[in-house]
């Protein structure tokens, strides 16, 4: 089995920000956008998760396309070109 590419570790970032970050973000002030700081922190982590997963997904698609010599047409089913 090949080693997974390094960029995949990006996916761990939001998890770390929640699991390690929350004890440090556990404050009410200062409020941001009307939200207590802790809630604001968590909302940011959730949004970041989505962004990071989109990025990892795009890189994975690119990676799979590069790995297969017969590149599938761009935009078409970029599943993983391995079937």
């Amino acid at each position: 089995m090949r080693r997974p590419p390094l960029y995949r570790w990006l996916a761990a970032l939001p998890a770390l920000l929640i699991l390690v970050g929350v004890p440090f973000a556990n404050r009410v002030h200062r409020m941001v956008l009307g939200l207590p700081f802790l809630l604001f922190w968590i909302v940011c982590c959730v949004v970041l998760t989505s962004a990071v997963m989109a990025l990892v997904g795009a890189l994975d698609a690119k990676h799979a396309a590069d790995a297969t010599p017969s590149t599938p047409p761009a935009g078409a089913a970029n599943s993983d070109g391995s079937r």
């Binding site: 089995m1 929350v22 409020m31 939200l35 959730v46 989505s50 997963m53 993983d80």
Partner: protein, 494 residues
Amino acid sequence: MNPALLVIAAFLVLSFALGLLARRGRTMTLEQWSVGGRGFGAVFVFLLMAGEIYTTFTFLGGSGWAYGRGAPAFYILSYGALAFSFSYFLLPVIWRYGTKHHLHSQADFFVSKYKSPALGVIVSLVGVAALIPYLVLQLKGLGIIVSETSNGSLSVATAVWISVAALVGYVVISGVHGSAWTAVVKDVMILTVAVGLGVYLPLHYYGGYGAMFEAIERAKPGFLSLPAKGMSPSWFVSTVLLSAVGFYMWPHAFGSVYTARSEEVFRKNAVVMPLYQLVLLFVFFVGFAAILQMPGLTGAQADLSLLRISKLAFPPLVVGLIGAAGLLTALVPGSMILLTASTILAKNVVRPLAPATSERAVGRLARGLVPAVALVAVFFTLRGGEAIVPLLLLGYNLVTQLFPALILSLPERPLATRTGAIAGILAGEATIAWVSLSGTTLAKLYPRWPSAITDLNVGIVAMTVNVVVLLAVSATTRGRAEAGSGAQPATATR
């Protein structure tokens, strides 16, 4: 009958109609009925999964916990995001393996991986045991909605009986197709209602979010951050971690993985679902808005906060629409849960024990078990006084114990043996059962340990016991060439 109840009844009829329409022209084999023939695209799988995620738990439980507990409720918003990023890597593996081997259920996966029908039965029983509190909380929610909108003219018990009749009827009529179609209606409604209430109530009563939270902080200092003891940051972090890991261990969530047409579905979901989670934020706002407007709901009564403040703020017709959204958020997941539990019992418990049973007989049995499972849930609903969120936490503790055996079965050379997996799961579940029945906590057992440790979710302790037993037993049994060997590598396509 008051207008609010009429609106709710109308939506109930609509969901039945959708269930019937979805069924038309299809012969319902067990596969059709339970995994929809494996032909669902991104949108449907998304809705099915969302259908399971946005349940009464989020709607009434989420607002109830924001109202009653404050900041600890934020854990509900956190674990989903973790689970989705994790699912990006996990679900395609499960899907590929399941599709290749024509698997229908979570138990099938374990049976196939570990070559152990006994493990399949154990996994199934764990799944059903965990689904019961999940079903109980949906019924509790339905009961609350019906009795609150009737202004007390229907007692909670009557409301629960009406709800369970609706639920059973719905499942028997429609199976999984009905769930998917009603999920569309439900998601539109719940989005509208949650966002609508979450925007309107804070603005109407406080003039804005900042003003609302400042007012709460003045009235209840510290309510909007995690306390130093009890539901402290270490409770929060351990609960988020356990729930994220347990997210796809639910038999219905695991089963819905197989309904996907391709694995691309999961990659899309990992991006969209976290954003969809943000609906929860508005649900919290509703609970927070109710704190100062509707004070005095204590304990499990906090789950009433959303409906109580809605009745305060809106005319009966609007309350009816809110109640109808609530009805659907209980009906869709409730039907999935009921369907899953009875299918599992018939197919993964009874059939392995009585292998002569024909496919048709299993299908009939699954349908026949629907009312039986529902009655068990009614029994617990009418008996217990638990709030909605603790019920789900119990279910999570039970299913999470399946996680180590699942993960360790994925490598080409599985790290766990059949005996190890069984021993680990049983040890973990026994710990959960002991802790839940005796009401023990780490803080009670070891009062002098620092609270950073004693506040940990007790599921972590059970998980540790589970993993230690699993690895120890696997190490001693490995030499006997009994492991679900690497004959079928899990990740065939890479």
